[in-house]
Amino acid sequence: MLLDIVIIVLRETLEASVLIGVLLSVSRHTDINLLWIFPAMILGTAAALFYALSLGEISEWFDYAGQEVINAGMQYIIYALLGCIVCLLFSLDKQKRKYLKGLMVASVAMAMVREGSELFVFYTAFLSQPGSALQAATSGFIGLSVGVSAGVIGYYALVTQKPPTAKAFQAFLLVLILTGMAMQATQLLIQVDWITVNEPVWDTSWLVAEPSATGQVLYAVFGYEATPSLIEIILYFISMAMILGPVMLLNFFTKNRNNEVKP
């Protein structure tokens, strides 16, 4: 039971903290003041509370598929915001990097709404059981500490790298996270039958079972699915290609321009 609660809290906090860790390292390497994280977190927490309190009404939308559809919508928005951040990292026009801060505030706030509202709902339900306060506090503290620790280690692992290496890792992690977001959104739409799926193409449950701790953590960060259908695989690679395509083009043009500048 304790482990289950820890995994639930960890699943929600880990995704946000890894994302925050990577974005803070991007800020450090692009000389953006790290203080943007505070308004993002305050905004995200306030919006998460508002969203959690309105979930009763929201879940009745779209023929009682409201919560899943809105959550999927938020995941797709985060996907788009992170995609813009990755493209700006490789942008030729350094002036455009001034938009990075706004994009980072929006993506962190949105991720916190998504994860925070789920935690709020879970804890509200859990604390209604008698004698659960100590378990709730301990598991919450463990989950939060582990999630934040992973974010801190990720942040320092990135900021201690040389800028070109750090940029490559930041882009790699952001692409994995954002495609994970798209994958989670797809799974939510499958749950409410907005997307119809066929037989699974493969089954990796023998390697990492979805309900296991590793499976849950991988789902949280990268949208892991042990038995994906063909449509899920196609959507996953399309969402990845939509970001990698522009990034590779930008990288190609940057190299060409640098070669032209060289005597």
């Binding site: 039971m1 280690i153 320092y156």
Partner: protein, 439 residues
């Protein structure tokens, strides 16, 4: 990385947290497995107890086990006995293995076995949640102190790192307190081994800087000395030309130029002397009033030749400066006051103590300096009006820069103001006072 301390505290705490979590989870899984084995042993024992009863009695006693246990006894396909909480159908496969079964809203650990030399099958099960929650409770009590001690651990880690970084802070403090001209080597023994490469590099840098300064000083001193001799010869020749009754404006201009060159060379040599004096910290206290009086006495003839008057007012004041350098400052300032005051002009020199500072004011009855030029006149080789300076006064543009240099060397300050008493320029220099000479 902006702060080593923050980096170390956060990373160490994060690693401890992740390691603790992994260890606690491993412990949790291990405890659950141990509890499983315990229950499995107990289930086997209970199955054997049932078989023993079946061997000796025809009926089983009521309430043989508690409510957390259920059992079924089957004779081929017929349920011949069961506990009250057991279902009517076969509860678990009879294969001697342990299974997790769902029944009555709970999970049960169950085992089914066939008794020796008969067709009787016994199934015994125990509620999973009963022992799982017991295991969890034991584990929770074991890991809670580890988890909640993390904030305390954070403070301890911060303290240890704070203490560990003290040598670095000490080195930074010692460097920041150094005077600009203090290039003494740092004692390596005073610092931790990890700082030795930094200290060695700094010592190397100080040594190279010191050599460079020495070279620069030697160069200006040698150059000034080397120029003195040909200049003296040049002046003698000019004097001879004057004796030969060759008088022209050009000759007068040449004489003025040679005087200016001579003045510049003297000032360069003064600058060298002052810089050398600043190297050894002058710790003895000297009287500002007394040094000023001596300088005035030395210069009195020059001032009198210009038909000017000079007055000294004030009280004795002690300062810790090199007396030779202070005399150079006062001489330069009085010389300027005299040069830029008209014939029959007046100079007023006064000393005063205010807010722990010893102040010397020199006021003249000259034209003064426009406010906009106040900062620039302290620059090297700067003269008001530049090369086009049309005054007949000999100058090199080094006098006030020497004054400024000495003041910097001994922690003094300079201010220009308009003299209300004499209407010309007023110069105020101040040094931290070393007390009153009467003390």
């Amino acid at each position: 990385m902006k702060s080593i301390r923050t980096y170390l505290v956060l990373v160490i705490l994060s690693v401890i947290c992740l390691a603790n979590f992994t260890a606690a989870m491993q412990g949790y899984r291990g405890s659950l497995k141990a509890a499983d084995r315990l229950v499995e042993n107990r289930l086997s024992e209970k199955a054997h107890i049932l078989s023993a009863f079946l061997d000796q009695h025809t009926t089983l006693p009521r309430g043989i086990f508690d409510q957390q246990t259920l059992y079924q006894i089957w004779d081929q396909d017929e349920l011949i006995a069961s506990s009250i909480n057991a279902p009517d159908n076969l509860f678990a496969p009879v294969d001697g293995n342990f299974h997790l079964q769902s029944h009555a809203g709970d999970r049960w650990r169950a085992v089914g076995m066939t008794l020796d030399q008969s067709q009787i099958q016994v199934i015994v099960a125990e509620k999973y949640s009963a022992y799982a929650s017991l295991t969890e409770d034991i584990l929770l009590r074991a890991i809670i102190p580890i988890i909640w001690v993390l904030p305390v651990l954070g403070i301890l880690v911060w303290l240890v790192i704070h203490i560990g970084l003290q040598p670095l802070k000490r080195l930074a403090n010692s460097l920041s307190k150094r005077e600009a001209n203090d290039l003494k080597v740092i004692q390596m023994d005073a610092y931790a081994g990890e700082l030795t490469p930094i200290v060695a590099a700094l010592n190397g840098l100080f040594s190279r800087l010191s050599e460079a300064f020495d070279r620069e000083r030697r160069f200006s001193s040698d150059a000034a000395h080397e120029l003195r001799t040909p200049l003296a010869a040049f002046k003698v020749n000019l004097h001879s030309l004057g004796k030969n009754e060759i008088q022209s404006e050009d000759l007068e201009r040449l004489k003025r130029t040679s005087e200016r060159m001579e003045h510049s060379i003297e000032q360069l040599l003064t600058l060298n002397r002052v810089a050398s004096a600043g190297e050894g910290a002058p710790l003895e206290a000297y009287d500002l009033y007394g040094i000023t009086r001596d300088v005035i006495a030395d210069m009195y003839v020059i001032i009198e030749n210009r038909k000017q008057t000079i007055e000294l007012a004030g009280d004795p004041l002690l300062l810790r400066v090199d007396p030779g350098s202070l005399a150079v400052v006062i001489r330069n300032l009085i010389d300027n006051a005299s040069k830029y005051s008209p014939k029959n002009g007046s100079i007023l020199v006064s000393t005063e103590s205010s807010n722990g500072m010893a102040i010397l004011r020199i006021e003249d009855s000259g034209k003064g300096i426009p406010k906009a030029e106040h900062a620039r006149v302290l620059e090297r080789f700067y003269r008001i009006g530049g090369d086009q300076n049309d005054s007949d006064i000999t100058g090199s543009g080094l006098g006030l820069s020497i004054v400024s240099f000495v003041l910097k060397l001994f922690g003094g300050k300079i201010n220009f103001f308009e003299s209300k008493t004499l209407g010309g320029l007023g110069v105020e220099i101040s040094f931290p006072s070393a007390g009153n000479s009467d003390d």
